[in-house]
């Protein structure tokens, strides 16, 4: 049963019951009042008639006449005749012996009052009977009218209530339709309901929930897409060196070649093996990072920077690039090896992006109560399109150049993992032909232990 049907039925039954019970009670009360009035009237009429008879008897008596049954009958008859025309029958009896009885009325419903006459006629009783058939008829008429009114008012009421309830529950229907639509997977859909009542509130809450669900779904599918891309890329990254290894091994093994060709082929075997090794170790690092918690310790920034400089000195010299170190804070909290690895990766990217003779800045400072490690270069930079995907594994801004340097395309993916392992924020900004800045923002609670 639908909600509107239930509401309609319940309201109708309730309304009809309450209304009818009230009406019946009122009618009942009015009946009792009418009856009371009739009774009073009968009593006063009887008293009046009894008094008249008493006066008559007195005047007869004062004329010296003996009051006997004949006189009594005469008097009673004269009153009886007179009142009969008004639907009233009188009866006079003397000590339970009827003296006069008015003509019996066919009706069974009457009001009857019996009383003794005032003294000295106390032995006489006057019975007053009045027909109240008209009262009953009136009541019946009223009852019929009540039923008749009921027959008309209930359908009218039902129709009005139907319209009203349908109007009131309309938002419910539209809410149900919209939510069904969303539940079927159209997460972009929203409930269009501007009511200011509970339905509107429900719609707003529901839309907020739908927002959250939509975001989750989008995030999940983006994540799945990224995973898929990573697997595709990994397959490609593995196939290429494997093809070389297989091919050159076969070439060395089976081909009729001279010394120079042998050197080229074995050189490729060597470099491609290194490339595979590099790839495998980077992948291992990534995998370990995502499974192991980092152990944080206090690392003096100067030491950290110097050790990074030592590791990269050869590359820096080869590329003719000057490294500038700026340590404004004395120490940061983190895993020394991971932070070193982070800086080395960023630095290598910067070296590959820079032109000979330019410089790279390595800085550590405090900003908004957080420790920031920053690597800035003034090299080629990249477009906004690359910025979004550059942290994805195997994503390369410049394929040919990256391979030339033997990169596996995992450097920044590793940096992202390192940042996540430190619960730190990573920020990358870049402008083409101007340079790139990458910041690792270590949260307050890391350096909060510093002071």
């Amino acid at each position: 049963m639908r909600f509107w049907q239930k509401t309609l039925l319940l309201m109708l039954v309730l309304f009809v019951v309450v209304l009818d019970v009230s009406v019946i009670m009122i009618m009942n009360k009015s009946w009792r009042l009418n009856m009371g009035r009739e009774q009073q009237r009968a009593a006063s009429d009887q008293a009046l008639i009894a008094n008249n008879i008493y006066e008559n008897l007195n005047s007869i008596k004062s004329r010296g006449m003996q009051i006997n049954d004949t006189i009594l009958l005469d008097v009673a008859r004269s009153y009886g005749e007179y009142y009969r025309e008004r639907g009233i029958s009188l009866e006079l009896s003397s000590q339970d012996t009827p003296v006069y009885a008015g003509p019996a009325e066919p009706s069974a419903r009457y009001i009857s009052v019996t009383n003794e006459l005032p003294a000295p006629y106390g032995y006489l009783q006057l019975t007053y009977r009045r027909d109240i058939e008209a009262l009953y008829a009136g009541q019946d008429e009223l009852n019929r009218y009540f039923v008749y009114i009921n027959c008309i008012s209930i359908p009218v009421l039902a129709a009005l209530m139907y319209v009203l309830i349908r109007k009131l529950t309309k938002p419910l229907q539209s809410l149900a339709d919209s939510t069904k639509n969303i539940a079927e997977g159209n997460y972009g859909k929203r409930v269009q309901l501007q009511n200011r009542d509970e339905f509107g509130e429900l719609a707003r809450h529901f839309n907020r929930m739908a927002d959250a669900v939509e975001k989750q779904v989008t995030d999940l599918s983006a994540m799945a897409e990224e995973k898929q891309r990573m697997v595709d890329n990994l397959a490609h990254e593995l196939r290429t060196p494997l093809t070389s290894l297989q091919g050159f091994a076969q070439y060395l093994n089976a081909a009729h070649i001279d010394e120079e060709e042998r050197m080229t082929a074995s050189g490729y075997l060597w470099s491609e093996t290194l490339r595979l090794k590099n790839l495998v170790f980077k992948l291992l690092d990534l995998s370990i990072l995502s499974h192991q918690p980092v152990e944080r310790s206090r690392i003096p920034v100067v030491e950290l920077f110097e050790s990074v400089r030592r590791m990269e000195q050869a590359n820096l010299d080869a590329a003719g690039i000057e490294l500038i170190l700026e340590a404004d804070i004395s120490a940061v909290w983190g895993d020394r090896e991971l932070l070193e690895s982070f800086l080395v990766n960023c630095l290598e990217n910067s070296i590959h992006a820079s032109n000979p003779g330019s410089e790279i800045r390595l800085a550590a400072y405090e900003q908004d109560a957080a420790a920031v490690l920053e690597v800035t270069d003034y090299g080629r930079g990249m477009s906004a399109g690359h910025l979004e995907r550059v942290f994805e594994p195997f994503y390369r801004v410049d394929h040919a150049r990256s391979r030339e340097h033997g990169g596996a395309g995992l450097g920044l993916a590793l940096c992202r993992q390192i940042a996540e392992a430190h619960q730190a924020q990573l920020s990358l900004s870049s402008e083409e032909q101007k340079g790139t800045t990458i910041k690792l923002i270590l949260q307050l609670h890391n350096n909060g232990l510093l002071t």
Binding site: Q246, T264, Y268, S271
Partner: protein, 219 residues
């Protein structure tokens, strides 16, 4: 034999392919992206293109889409091995589709199939005083016609097409006479001996220790 354009951005793979093409006597050009490829196509007469799909700037599929009928047969060489990619490759009009990692012998075999289908001119091979005309199935030694059985000729053809590469007896069996051929590797030895004798190639057809046989020729 044929002039082949190798379009491949991975230098090791490019070198691997071209070094092997050189072994079996093909001419080749190297291109590392679509632009270089276009330049070479405009300047040189190319018999076949080996085209990598994942290329910088414009990928191989995209290039094919823009040049529906380049007038040159194309073999895709790619790490993309999904059915959808393969179908795309063939739909774009490729003559073949080779997936990395591939075997060199397979690559050479497929190149030969595509070349035979497309190149009309007669293929020849000359070594010393022996002149082999593959299409006509005729062999001359010092101007004299040499009689070879069908089996011997088929074996010779495989050796020539894969010259300078050692082939195992099993491989020779398979390439020359097919999988269905009922015979063991001794059959190969017998036929090799015949070829050596008939062509005077005792030195030219080398027995490679633990591997098999190799036809050595000038490159």
């Amino acid at each position: 034999m044929a002039t082949i354009l190798v379009v491949e951005d991975e230098k090791p793979i490019s070198d691997l392919i071209t070094m092997n093409l050189k072994l079996v006597g093909h001419q080749f050009f190297k291109a590392y992206d679509g632009e270089q490829m276009q330049q070479i196509l405009e300047q040189e007469k190319i018999d076949l293109i080996l085209l990598d799909v994942m290329l910088p700037v414009m990928d191989g599929f995209e290039w094919m889409r823009r040049h529906r009928h380049p007038g040159v047969p194309v073999i895709f060489i790619t790490a993309k091995d999904s059915l959808a990619d393969r179908i795309t490759g063939f739909e774009l009009g490729a003559d073949d589709y080779i997936i990395k990692p591939f075997e060199i012998l397979e690559l050479l075999a497929r190149i030969n199939v595509v070349l035979r289908r497309n190149v009309k001119e007669e293929e020849g091979f000359t070594a010393g005083d022996v002149d082999v005309r593959l299409a006509a199935r005729q062999i001359y030694k010092s101007g004299q016609l040499v009689e070879l059985t069908a089996r011997e000729f088929e074996l010779l053809e495989v050796l020539i097409q894969n010259r300078n590469i050692a082939l195992s007896r099993e491989k020779l069996l398979e390439l020359a006479w097919g999988y269905e051929f009922e015979g063991d590797t001794r059959t190969v030895d017998v036929h090799i001996r015949q070829l050596r004798k008939k062509l005077g190639w005792e030195e030219r057809i080398k027995t490679v220790y633990k591997l098999g046989y190799r036809l050595e020729a000038e490159r």
